[in-house]
Symmetry: C2
């Protein structure tokens, strides 16, 4: 029987889940694994966090707790990048293994923290930082260990996936769907972090590092959220056989690493298009395993805590054993500028219903060497007339240039043109 001493710093939503699981399932875990998880103490500024768990000890000073000799693992569930940063750094300095769900912290300060962990010969577990309960980190690090990765496409944020799902299912506009998400607890009062794609971008940077062995900063990434998605795009996507998802994408291209977050049209029959409401999913292409998808709850107290606990058992088992190391220390790399990436595009032009409009648009697209795969105009009696062009693979900068020129002509074009990426995900 291996006994692992744990210090829990931060007992909010996820921390409460950890307390519940430790309280209810420690025996089961011990029976299944031979590892005993022993919670030494809990630190939180809220004195009520242990209301339901009087058997655990609340500590007022986190350093006193983490430096204790019987503490093997420090669990950081504070969130944010200030105090959490200090706690993780201190824990590593005391040569404690760290388990965290903090994607922002690892995305922004990971390089420094992983270097410190290596120096101190301890590990950092972060299964809970990406995809909640979904074991995507362990799968990339262990189950797919021999594979070279080609691309990862993720629905990495439950709030935005819920909003997009409700826009489609209940014919709501963005603000109506956001309000519904807030009422049901799937969106924060200030939803910026989620709806602008920042949360997903932090996760993409962690996945890209693991998959490609290079550290990727979200500052270099193109990050677009869902606040500008209209009912019209939701509708046309479906008509054309696609569905709009906020995808976190990273891939290995001939000219480097690509990493971005943006609303993307994906084929409606592709497994990732079927991931609805608050669920998350990660679709992975690798050389030996082939395509693979992991689907599950990406957030919430217990699903996230379940991932934290799995790290406690996994890294707990490894403490003091000669198990090799896990490499998390990667060189920073510049990613390919979005404008250089070749994709298919959906373009919706808001036009006056006049002769010559389609020819005008098609001419400028042709001049910019944008090859068209299909054109669609609904018969309509009112303006604007919506004209939709789908392109073959082409560079984004050509498309942007063409649109800029097209949109100048106020005799044909009524409102700014909408463009969206299409990923065929073959």
């Amino acid at each position: 029987m291996k006994k692992i001493g744990i210090a829990l710093i931060g007992a909010g939503t996820v921390g409460q889940g950890v307390l519940k699981i430790l309280n209810s399932s420690s025996e089961l875990i011990q029976k299944r694994t031979g590892v005993e998880l022993n919670l030494i103490g809990v630190c939180d500024k809220n004195p009520k966090v242990l209301e339901h768990y009087p058997q655990y000890q609340l500590c007022s000073n986190y350093t006193d707790l983490i430096k204790r000799e019987d503490v093997n693992i420090v669990v950081e569930l504070i969130g944010g990048t200030d105090f959490a940063y200090q706690v993780v750094k201190d824990a590593l300095r005391y040569k404690k293994t760290v388990v965290t769900a903090n994607k922002a912290l690892l995305s922004e300060k990971g390089h420094e923290l992983f270097a410190l962990a290596k120096e101190k010969e301890v590990e950092i577990g972060y299964e809970a930082a990406v995809g909640g309960a979904i074991p995507i980190i362990r799968s990339l690090k262990s189950s797919l260990i021999s594979n070279e990765f080609q691309a990862i496409y993720g629905i990495l944020n439950g709030t935005t996936n819920f909003i997009l799902s409700k826009m489609e299912q209940e014919n709501l506009n963005y603000l109506e769907a956001l309000r519904l998400a807030q009422e049901l607890g799937f969106a924060e009062r200030d939803p910026t972090f989620d709806v602008e794609g920042i949360d997903a971008a932090h996760k993409v940077s962690l996945l890209a590092s693991l998959a490609f062995g290079y550290s990727v900063s979200i500052k270099d990434m193109y990050v677009e959220g869902i606040t500008k998605i209209s009912k019209t795009e939701i509708f046309f996507a479906k008509e054309l056989g696609y569905r709009i998802k906020l995808l976190g994408i990273c891939s290995k291209e001939a000219n480097g690493i690509e990493a971005r977050v943006q609303p993307t049209m994906v084929p409606i029959h592709h497994p990732i298009a079927g991931v609805m409401n608050e669920m998350n999913a990660v679709y992975v292409y690798s050389n030996y395993s082939g395509p693979m998808m992991f689907f599950g709850k990406g957030a919430g107290s217990l699903p996230t805590a379940s991932a934290v606990i799995s790290d406690l058992v996994y890294y707990g088992s490894r403490i003091g054993s000669e198990t090799g190391f896990e490499n998390n220390l990667f060189h920073r790399v510049k990613i390919i500028p979005t404008s250089e990436i070749e994709e298919k595009f959906y373009l919706r032009f808001n036009t006056y219903d006049r002769p010559g409009v389609i020819a005008y648009i098609a001419n400028i697209l042709g001049k910019n060497k944008i090859s068209i795969s299909s054109v669609r105009q609904e018969e309509t009696k009112k303006e604007p007339a919506e004209v939709i062009f789908l392109t073959h693979k082409t560079k984004e900068k050509s498309v942007r240039k063409a649109i800029e020129e097209i949109d100048k002509n106020r005799e044909y074009i009524l409102q700014p043109t909408i463009m969206m990426r299409i990923e065929e995900l073959t």
Copy 2:
């Protein structure tokens, strides 16, 4: 750097994949994990298996190879339950960790082999035995370690999923789709093992053991393959909003463990219904993590080898370390008889187009306390008239009894009634 000595016994399809990955990716694995996989020798009766890998050593006597002191792990990729059984037993006796893809062996002799492994203080890795590249074993054993499992629904056999997909997509009957699968290499010349559900049943027994902590024998299981599925059912399933999948099912019910393999109608918009062609998927319900699905290639040389390699690194890392144990030793349990399980049913009656038919059927169903959720009869000019009843949840034995009685009346009923389970997978 941890160096792990490996003996490979059996270098057929999956073994060749293992050789390819060891040959191409050992350095990458070492860089990522600090573990060096060192192939000491290969045993196979075919002298040509190392044609492309002259750097490895072919051994004629497997016991000479596995007893070598520099061999830490024996990889059994022979298949079958005779010689493979002997090899695994011998390896364990020599205190070697075993990695295998052999679901039949572990399903039939697992109890004895896991007991021997425990006695000798070594481990048996079998990630490759279920779902090919999909890391379902590791996820159940490690990522979901704190969870109690409620149910697992798996598309666990690529051959049958391919056949069912082609029957739908290309409007083929079973034999035509089987022939296509054989031509494309997705079905064996003798497909019995796959199409009769036996392969899936072995996998269900392994999943049920891990999830519920009880050993389940396929001899106790209801196992039905796909050989009797007709184009008519494929068609009506779709009309009714379902799709037919060969599901391996295990679940924890109030009165015990349920485990079975059978063609099942699942809601067409459920993620598992979208798993097409040769792909596999495992859908898991557990108390903390919530619903989760793993999707990927369930067979093939490299996907399966990728899983073998992940076990080599994982169990290799643990050798000689105090990492706790993995419990694989479970008491045998009797499963709930299928007849006692409550499900919804699809019933298709082949009737003469005469007045009174529907009343006749409905009466007998009612008499057997089977509650009807919907009835459907197409307007048709030719006989048989197809009448479809969907039931609410009801015991299978009541349905079988009712059908037996209904089918006796040759004035109404033209051909034996077809019944199929419906799983709503909420």
